[in-house]
Symmetry: C2
């Protein structure tokens, strides 16, 4: 039996459940907190699950996340360590993230924030307009989303650099890894896009030191997790003029508190965590694929490596 273990509203449950039942017609479902015999549950579909529940399920064989990021799940000390945990890797979510990356990279490339400031001041002035081929865009994180984004940016004509914790190759993209590689890449990054998973290694990766490596006048786009950036260090880098602009979709506290300085900072664009929302219609099919693999004894897809954290 499949347990839907989430913090969803009843409206959200009513949206998800028929889609899951349609994608998995042979399965029985139950929805937390309305639980049957716990021993009957062998699959849990989770999204911000209440702590402790998973540990009470004696026959669990698969924990399937309904989100792409699993950092919050992994921080839960009660999460069973020996049950496969799968991330949601959904082509529709990838496409959404791709659109997000292009939207914000192009906005910074074409100095839209600067033109908006000019509009408010009624200033008619043409700013320098290098072509994409003269613009270096760097992608932090070369997992599935990072690789797709880097390739698409390259196709649009940008000079693309990419960094991942471990060395990797990507055609047409100059790749970097490790701490030295990070500094070398950041020193060339006019527009930096963060798509890293949040792990012990990447928490606070954008701090006073690493932000200082960026060229004067560069900008950053954070689409990953708020905890990747030390917020005070970012504010200092913007206020000093070292950084030109930051587009932030994620924050250490969400929703962003109303008294937070980011809301009214002229060099910060605040977005309410909308880079790539899970689409229940497509996600239900992706989830179904993994459940059917479990039932037929095939290897599960997108299982998280607990030692890497993603």
């Amino acid at each position: 039996m499949i347990l839907l273990l989430t913090n969803f509203t009843s409206n959200e449950v009513q949206m998800w459940l028929p889609l899951l039942e349609q994608a998995l017609p042979a399965e029985q479902f139950c929805v937390y907190p309305d639980l049957p015999n716990l021993a009957d549950i062998d699959v849990a579909l989770v999204a911000n699950p209440p702590a402790g529940v998973l540990a009470t399920l004696p026959n669990l064989k698969l924990i399937q996340s309904l989100w792409a990021g699993v950092d919050a799940l992994l921080r839960d000390a009660t999460l069973p360590r020996d049950i496969p945990l799968a991330r949601l890797v959904d082509p529709a979510l990838t496409q959404a993230m791709l659109e997000t990356v292009l939207t914000h990279v192009l906005s910074l490339h074409r100095q839209i924030p600067a033109y908006q400031a000019q509009q408010q001041a009624k200033v008619w002035q043409q700013l320098p307009q290098p072509s994409a081929a003269e613009r270096k865009v760097a992608v932090l994180g070369l997992g599935h989303l990072g690789r797709v984004a880097a390739v698409q940016l390259k196709q649009l004509g940008f000079v693309v650099l990419g960094w991942s914790s471990r060395p990797t190759n990507l055609e047409g993209i100059q790749t970097f890894s490790g701490q030295d590689g990070l500094q070398t890449m950041l020193e060339q990054s006019e527009i930096l896009v963060n798509l890293l998973p949040l792990t012990d290694e990447t928490r606070g990766i954008l701090n006073a030191q690493t932000l200082s490596y960026l060229p004067v006048g560069s900008s950053i786009i954070n689409l990953a997790r708020g905890a990747h950036i030390i917020e005070a260090d970012l504010l200092a880098a913007l206020d000093s003029g070292h950084l030109q602009h930051a587009i932030l979709d994620v924050f250490t506290t969400e929703p962003l508190p109303t008294d937070h300085l980011f809301w009214h900072h002229p060099q910060i664009t605040v977005l309410p965590h909308v880079a790539a929302a899970t689409n229940p219609i497509t996600a239900a099919k992706v989830v179904a694929t993994n459940v059917l693999r479990l039932r037929s004894g095939q290897p599960l897809e997108h299982v998280v490596d607990r030692t890497r954290g993603y």
Copy 2:
């Protein structure tokens, strides 16, 4: 001899002239108003030229514009009617316009203006986020720039429609023409991109009537000429809530007068005519190609059809 006949500043002339001399080493150049024997001039390179001068050149064989648009030139009653007039069609300019189209279509697609309004009000709210495949983008004008833009938008996943005054085909794009076709297309256009040439036929093409065909909540992007839109009609359509947003790069009067209502309208983004600036480095090479074709008796490229006006 080649005459540079423009309203360029001396700084601009000093930028252009060496590039032209380098691209056409066998040619002699003169710069208005410093004119030699008028009978020696057989090519004029023009950018907002002073009226009347071209008519005084007895041996003119080619008028080569340094801009893509020639509507202002054609409105000059003193323009010689029997001398070939060529537009600037520069791959670098095409690439710049392509980047501009993508920048603004993606911004509207992802509701960035609405999120900016939310930021000012400190509102954390996720808005509906259809994918590109669920978004209809319509391109007005299927000339060189319009066709390239339509194809690229299609590649990014949008549903793309296109309109031109005369019927044309474009793979994967639903095309329309004529007045009936215009209405049919506008009725489906969630995001409308104007890339038309300015002619007697297209002047004021976006007016109270045609704007009323657009779906409620749709948005427009004008990258062509201010005179394509009846400004009062656009304001009315925005104020009534029929249209959601307008991104305007061009205006009937440029620079946009400081007392113009557009500057502070919350549903209008004002840009200072920066969609695609001529790049002297690449443009000099394009101009040289046409001059060399003239010298060797080959057909000239991108000659304007005076009856069509582009």
